[in-house]
Amino acid sequence: MVPKIMKQGTLTPWFYLAAAIIIMFVFIVYPTINTVILSLKDKTGTHSAAVDCTPGEPCWGMFENYRYALTNQDMLQALRNNALWILLTVPGTVGAGLMFAVLTDRVRYEKLAKTIVFLPMAISFVGASIIWRFVYYLEAGGGPQIGVLNAIITALGGQPIAWLTNKSWIVNNISLWVVWIWLWAGFCMTILSAALRGVPTELLEAARVDGATEWQVFWRIMFPIILPTITVVATTMTINVLKVFDIVFVMTNGLNGTEVIANRMFKFIVTNQGRSMAIAVLLIILTIPIMIINVRRFREQEMIR
């Protein structure tokens, strides 16, 4: 219950929040509406998108940019890749984070291990991409392999691998996913390890005394208790991965089968506003279901509070 005294002067709190509310409308609500409008316009945002139609070819009228966003080959590739990014890196980051959280709790150098895993969070995606580009570098000209991975492979007598320019698109994507996991697992670990701290020690002791193996202790006791936190981390990571841009932009620029939605959108931002904004709207629509899950969770927490 809010005491009566806190309700006095109802105008003053408005005054303090007014700036934030106005700014949110001007810079978040208005641009979002504007983006939707621009997505129905042509390249320069002056005419209806219908002017971009070529006679004799399929045309969606004012939704022409959406025809591009949903049917163009490069866009289909980007959609496929984003789906794979979600399916593989979300479990990848959360799983790795959980594993670090559980395992580092059992060793002497816990703090050091956690810091090492957490440190990549401090590096920008651009910086990390440049470092990893060098790790993956392939010397195609016949000189010695100086990229670290290929140097190791050739030193062991193997053939160098094109990590980012492979004929097989999946290899290039896997290389990018590894970088993503390297960057984000520490964040997942930190939050999950806090949740693990919340598991009552007596419960774990009791199970161990009763002869449960560590494997059983994890799956039957720890996992169910921290499941809500795992869901939070997973939804956060899903939103992050939907927006993935910097890494792809710097490392491959979407070439060799690694295109993603946000990079497609960025490519058109100067040359074709309508198209760019239609792709942006698509991105918003894809994030909405996860946003709803998160908002619901927020509400539930408010109830508890």
Binding site: W14, Y16, A122, V126, I130, P144, T190, A262
Partner: protein, 298 residues
């Protein structure tokens, strides 16, 4: 040997086996995590002749800071710009933007938790939307708005003040939500007591909440400092003028031109990462503690 010992023995050896497995897994991951860091540091200290050697991961023959000098000042002969201007731009951008957005978030969080009124129903959904929305989707309208705004002769588009404004604005959701969660744990009785003593809305903040806010400020400021310093998307779209571009854009340009050698690229990457790395190394435990305390969990 008693029967009891006999029963225990297999378990002990299996525990030892588990330890070996545990350490093997952890060491493997430590290598995975540290390999790029090692490459970053070692390559940056090498001369170009050494980088070309196939024994790439060998330590450098001595400490060559030439790569750092080249990455910082650029090289007119080879035709690329150094990072010094970009680095300073990032400093001028990140420090004010971090402080302003932390202060603003703190006041918003205070009003939202300690004053119950309808305003929170308006602002809260906006904050959540603002936090989760992909920023790519508002870029063009944002740039158009910034191009129109011209305060006291300061052009916002393409300038550092414009970028500061952008980061402050898009920092409001996260900073407000972190402080909101933080202040929710501060007993409302404290605020009530101050009110009874006649404190107004601002002096309650100034004398009661603000002095308790240090842990909240640490988390928010580290978070904002890192995300603003490391941001590329806004940096690349809001500033097209090379003189105003922050470090991430400068680094991308440096690494994007194929004339620049790997050792210079690595030196550049380390220069760009240095401030945030130092913050994490020295303040990281406060940040991790803050994260763990649930500040970011919602």
């Amino acid at each position: 040997m008693t029967a009891r010992e006999h029963v225990l023995r297999p378990r002990i050896s299996s525990i030892r086996w588990q330890r070996v497995m545990l350490y093997t897994v952890l060491i493997a991951f430590a290598i995975f995590y540290l390999m790029p860091v090692y490459v970053l540091i070692v390559t940056g200290l090498k001369s170009f002749a050494e980088v070309s050697l196939y024994r790439m991961w060998y330590p450098p023959s001595g400490l060559h800071f030439d790569s750092y000098i080249k990455a910082w000042f650029g090289s007119e002969a080879e035709g690329f710009r150094g990072l010094n201007v970009n680095f300073m731009n990032s400093v001028y951008l990140t420090i004010p933007a971090t402080i302003i957005s932390a202060m603003w978030g703190s006041i918003n969080g205070y009003i939202l938790t300690k004053w119950k009124f309808r305003g929170s129903d308006v602002l809260f959904p906006l904050l959540l939307f603002g936090m989760f929305i992909p920023y790519q989707s508002i870029l063009i309208p944002l740039v158009q708005t910034l191009q129109k705004i011209n305060i006291f002769g300061i052009r916002l588009y393409g300038s550092i003040p414009g970028l500061i404004l952008t980061h402050v604005i898009y920092g409001i959701p996260i900073t407000t939500l972190i402080f909101r969660n933080y202040y929710a744990s501060v007993p409302t009785e404290l605020v009530e007591a101050a009110r009874i003593d006649g404190a107004n809305i601002f002096s309650v903040y100034r004398h009661v909440l603000f002095p308790l806010s240090m842990p909240g400020f640490v988390v928010v400021m580290i978070w904002q400092f890192t995300s603003i310093w490391n941001d590329f998307l806004f940096a690349a779209t809001v500033t097209s003028n090379p003189e105003a571009q922050p470090i991430t854009v400068g680094l991308n340009n440096l690494a994007g031109s194929y004339i620049v050698e790997w050792n210079v690229q690595m030196a550049g990457a380390l220069i760009a990462a240095l401030p945030t790395l130092l913050v994490y190394i020295f303040l990281g435990r406060f940040f991790m503690r803050g994260l763990m305390a649930g500040s970011l969990k919602g």
